[in-house]
Symmetry: C2
């Protein structure tokens, strides 16, 4: 049967999870069961939520004992869109005190109604010509209040450093100094003038109903990728962009605002569900999430699970995991160990703060990537690579 299985982390002072789970399974579907006449039970049985499992974790929290429970919701109860699914599995329930939605598992039939990423890992490798290594991404710095000439200089420096993907700052919106269309044209021009096959992810922003048209216009002008603040809009908005055949460039899901519903330990959604599984179903080609190393850090296990859900076998193309924040060249070995080949190394300060500027920063990262994929240490590689040596002198190695 087509269905979605939700895994919740529940808390209860008395540990009465059977009653609580049954209450959820009925409350979020047909409302009541045992007091229904047999005839009505027959009529409603294909709509009834079912408790599949209850597993006490043995952990005692401020909200009581902890247990993970699985409940199956028949697809007959909702339309095949993420808003309907989220309202079904976590609408009212999200308001019921401490409870966390940690996973959703979609039956094959239901999952097949979501098309997922258009490009995914393989498609992005083809676009950038970057194989057999993690990709390298960087971000514009301090662009608010600056003009196009300032951005041009930064973009050139980054591309010259061998960076595969340059992304807009997520807080740069359409503005008179650097309007969307001008940034797109600038990006196209700088990339064409270089010999690189780089992508520039422009922030696709503005009113919801205008995004598709704006994205299409941007592509006509030469946009090669889009950055999208999906959690300020809605997962379904991302999905509709990804489904549009005319929007044939990769889309990068930014985690802005998502901490509001992933960071609290006993409420909201798990990071891996939102930033790993659901953005992939909704069609993100890249997913950015906090790395476990920086000051804005995600717990290591959550970061690893997010990457795992972005890449695991499913009917959809793989979403490129982009662990972000606090990254400098000295962290490349640990990034490679934690996230492997199919990940993107993304840096801001670690590129721009390099003693030789963003170009030197880009080169230092590429030297570090070449070293680790060839099985050499950074120290070995730094002997012949000045940029890498300068980076290691400044930021050190390891975490």
């Amino acid at each position: 049967m087509s269905e979605v299985i939700a895994t919740y982390r529940l808390f209860d002072q008395k540990g009465a999870f059977e009653k609580k789970a049954e209450g959820i399974a009925l409350g979020l579907t047909i409302g009541s069961w045992t007091d229904l006449p047999i005839l009505e039970q027959e009529q409603l049985k294909h709509h009834k939520g079912r408790v599949l499992s209850i597993r006490k974790t043995g952990i005692e929290t401020a909200y009581g004992q902890e247990a993970d429970i699985e409940i199956a919701y028949p697809a007959a109860n909702f339309s095949a869109d993420l808003p309907a699914i989220l309202v079904t599995v976590f609408g009212k329930l999200s308001l019921d005190g401490a409870v966390r939605l940690i996973d959703l598992s979609f039956s094959e039939e239901l999952a097949s109604l979501f098309t997922g990423p258009k490009f995914g890992v393989e498609g992005i490798r083809a676009l950038t010509g970057a194989y057999n290594r993690p990709l390298l991404m960087s971000i514009f710095k301090g662009v608010i209040g600056r003009d196009l000439a300032y951005m041009e200089e930064q973009l050139k420096a980054q591309i010259a450093g061998g960076i595969d993907i340059v992304k807009d700052d997520e807080i740069l919106f359409d503005n008179p100094l650097t309007p969307f269309e001008e940034r797109v044209k600038l990006g196209r021009q700088v990339i064409e003038q270089s010999e690189a096959k780089a992508l520039y992810a422009v922030n696709l922003s503005g009113r919801t109903s205008e995004l598709k048209e704006k994205a299409r216009r941007g592509i006509e002008l030469g946009a090669s990728a889009y950055l999208f603040n999906v959690f300020a809009y809605g997962l379904d908005v991302l999905q509709e962009l990804a489904e549009d055949p005319e929007i044939h460039v990769p889309i990068m899901a930014h985690p802005a605002v998502s901490g509001a519903f992933t960071s609290a330990p006993h409420h909201g959604f798990s990071t891996e569900l939102m930033l790993g599984k659901l953005v992939r179903m909704a069609g993100a080609d890249f997913t950015l999430f906090p790395s476990p190393y920086g000051s804005v850090a995600l717990e290591r296990s959550a970061a690893l699970k997010t990457a795992e859900m972005a890449l695991e076998n499913s009917g959809h193309k793989q979403t490129f995991p982009v662990p972000s924040a606090g990254i400098h060249p000295g962290l490349v070995p640990v990034l490679y160990e934690d996230f492997g080949m199919d990940s993107i190394i993304n840096a801001g300060g670690g590129v721009h703060g390099h003693p030789s500027g963003a170009t030197g920063g880009g080169r230092a990262f590429r030297q570090a990537i070449d070293a680790v994929t060839a099985g050499r240490t950074l120290e070995q590689a730094a002997v012949k690579n000045e940029d890498l040596r300068l980076a290691l002198d400044l930021w050190g190695t390891g975490k």
Copy 2:
């Protein structure tokens, strides 16, 4: 200057809030300041975030000392839409451990770019002909897997009980048994056949880009109001529906999923900001939120502040506050005391579970409302009002 002022609740083990606040004000705007040349400072000063106040609350939490800080963000930094504003004030910051966005204050110029509710409290009173009393709302019960005849019977019973507004269950989506258009037609017919000026809020659901067209078609078929799961879509989606001149029926914002980012004490958004202030700016005519009385309960102060923000003086029409869940006729005096005349009393089980059915339940509520607005006690009113007496016998009075 046009700007938005964000009030955050911050936590710090060492109480170093000055540094933290300054880091946010710069980090979420121009990035750096003191190391900039004077010429660049001049160029960027209109884009710089400013710390306005830091107030230590004296409360010690698991995350350290607590302080409320205010930071002003120039409107020059973002486009005038809620996604851009939320990304600016809480994009990256939401991912930075324990931090809660408790209020946003918009300069008049900025607020005037948002049109707010189309109907509001006055408009809905005019539509329902209900003046000088709280309105009465009820919700369909157990409609998943049921047919139109079942809904018709429920709707007739509710309308006959004197209910002003009947709303769909938020988990009822478009489905073969009770499709959207058929529900709309049913609602129109039942309301026309009654002598009531009631509204039926149909759940407007489906894919984001199809909502406007669906809403317009529904109105052609006689839809009198829409229920909308705004937090499963996005505030801007609500705003675009509310701005559409062809969607000239009231829109009800449902809080489904919002608990994911309002319920944790040290993370996310305050309930009053999301369910009070922002849904109003985005154009909700009604806002539902958990009442402080039921099992799915909101803290009383948060519920009162939510209603306050829905109604307070501003350039926008007032949004009708609808404290929901756990409501029965015996609670009408406390609801009236807490939320006053301009609120809506909303019940599910408290209507349908009445010994005389939904019609008796509706009448019991109306009798209770008549009593409290006339300054009488429920006990006094119950002497001559059989339905109210039965309700009080079953559910008691008070909290």
